[in-house]
């Protein structure tokens, strides 16, 4: 009994030795911007040991909510704030300032064993509406299409809904998962699946399709030829005070190192023209 108490106390003391951070920055929001936020956070914390940055990735909507009620300093979002979010912000005396940190495209991905190489935006829409339900209607084998979408708290989902579905309802048998990584994982292990992810999440375990004959790469996104492209945002409450840690963090995307990080993750730096 005494030994347990001693052990507990010593663990608590040990816990207090680690982590000597004073200032904190809380980031909340999109899972698409998440890798960028995490990489920025790690890089920044390395060069400024007195700052503790925590990142949660629970969806763009949650990021907006958190910045409005003051529980985070930076909201990472893959869509702009909606009208009611702006209203709520102004109502709580929060002035949202939007920084565009990177550009992104939404790629349609399939299992690498799927022979289909390209689709049009309209075909994607028909598939997600449920009207095209078999790969043979797209030139592939006779297998049912398993459609996977992001859960509705996602900015990626909102962009997809806006640019591809154009407001029509996704079919009921669509499976929903919680993040870009989850879509990629489902697609790479399910031969008949079709999903969508940000281009930073394409790797050699999935195959990206050409949409309207344009393949999703940083170049085509930057030039605007890829039809489903969008900016990625970080939102702060009013412009951060010059010279403060928050200011330096949020303007990291303008520095060379920041852009290298963005490129290494797979997204498109804003200034890469």
């Amino acid at each position: 009994m005494k030994l347990t108490i001693v052990l507990c106390l010593s663990l608590l003391l040990a816990g207090s030795v680690f982590g000597q951070k004073a200032e904190k920055i809380v980031i909340d929001g999109s899972t698409t911007v998440g890798p960028i936020a995490k990489a920025f956070a790690e890089y920044y914390m390395k060069n400024n040991p007195g700052v503790n940055i925590t990142v949660s990735e629970s969806g763009s909507g949650n990021g907006a909510k958190s910045i409005v009620n003051g529980s985070c300093q930076v909201a990472s979002m893959s869509r702009l704030m909606k009208a009611n979010e702006y209203e709520a912000a102004i109502g709580s005396e929060v002035l949202p300032v939007t920084h565009v940190v990177a550009l992104d495209g939404i790629a349609m991905i399939v299992h690498p064993g799927n022979p289909v190489k390209k689709m049009t935006v309209d075909q994607v829409k028909q598939v997600y509406l449920g009207k095209i339900a078999n790969w043979k209607q797209l030139g592939g084998p006779d297998k049912p299409i398993i459609i996977i979408s992001r859960d509705t708290n996602s900015g990626t989902y909102e962009t997809f809904e806006g640019k591809v579905m154009k407001g029509e309802k996704i079919a009921k048998n669509c499976e929903y998962v919680g993040s870009n990584g989850a879509i990629r994982q489902r697609v790479q292990s399910t031969p008949n699946a079709l999903g969508y992810v940000g281009i930073g999440f394409i790797d050699n375990t999935v195959k990206a399709l050409e949409i309207n004959d344009v393949y999703p790469t940083p170049e085509t996104v930057r030039k605007g030829t890829y039809p489903i492209a969008r900016p990625l945002y970080m939102i702060t409450n009013d412009y951060p005070k010059m010279g403060s840690h928050l200011y330096q963090f949020v303007s990291m995307y303008l520095t060379k190192k920041g852009q290298e990080i963005i490129e290494e993750i797979g997204f498109v730096p804003v200034t890469a023209y």
Binding site: N84, N153, S154, T190
Partner: protein, 378 residues
Amino acid sequence: MKEKQNTLILSKGASRWRRLASFCLQGTLLVVTSLSLVAVLFIIYYIARDAWPFFQLNGLKEFFTSTHWYPSRHPEEFGALSIFVGSGLVTLTSILIAVPLGIAAAICLSDILPFHVRQMVKPVIEILAAIPSVAFGFFALVVFAPLLQSNGGTFLTIAFLIMAFPVSTIGLMIISKLLADRFKKDAKAVRIGAFLLLAAPVAWGMIRVCHILIRIPINSGTNTLNVSVILAVMALPTIVSVAEDALQSAGRELREGSYALGATRAETIFKVVIPAAGSGIIAAVILGVMRSIGETMVVWMASGNAAQIPDPWFNILQPVRTLTATIAGDMGEADQVTGSARYHVLFAMALCLLLFSFLSNLISEWIVNRSRKKLGLK
């Protein structure tokens, strides 16, 4: 069960001061204990408080009868019927798997197996009960789902055989016994003959079913079947331990009386012990149901989260969405600042879950109390 004697009530001769102190003390203890009552009330109040605006805005009809779940469209649609059906389907399937296995295991543990085997099995059950649900969910997503996808047919066939083989054997034995009793001739020979005669078509039928099953492709590994099997494994320890307690509390006298009257072991078990422990077994099943319906992580990770009613409704190879997974997953977008319907609908779902668990609790307590009264406060 002996009535607990309350030996700590003060005698009449104690001084007033002492009585006052004791009263205050008991009062404080009562207050602390009633914290649980307070907690339950608060939970009901706060969840209902945040759920009420949804019903005010949208009314009951759409929520309970429509199958269109599109909370982020404009206009939003909050038809949660398919989600309720999803929860129900998952619970039903997992109970169908878990209850026979659990009750059989409980019977084995309490009546059939020798003592030292029991001592070995109990820790296994406790360990299974203690494993965190997220570990089960991880297993379901990372190991089980790909297994189902690549070897779907094989898995279904094996599961079918595991279920059907003992059931058919026992069924055939019972039928052949009945037939033998009918004919009253050389019982044993007739029994064996009938058994073999009936076994042939049954075996052929099973082989046909296996052939069909092995060809079924499972397109998506995250579906009802996956979740139900894992939930059944999670609910089993609860069912087994509560059922076993119930069977044990039926008492040795009952069993000994039955043996004294000349009943065989099987007859004792099926005709005496189980009916006596009947209420306890039902309570165990209800507890299993409550566990399955309230589980979040496993269904969130492995059920596919498609808000649809599978077609046909018993097609367990299709993805579904449950109430708990919707609450956990959708909370991200919930916009409490603007008081949107999206936030409140999640609380409405939580309210439904809460009410269901209350009801189940009440029913199980009522059943147990009623049978206790019947058996004379046994």
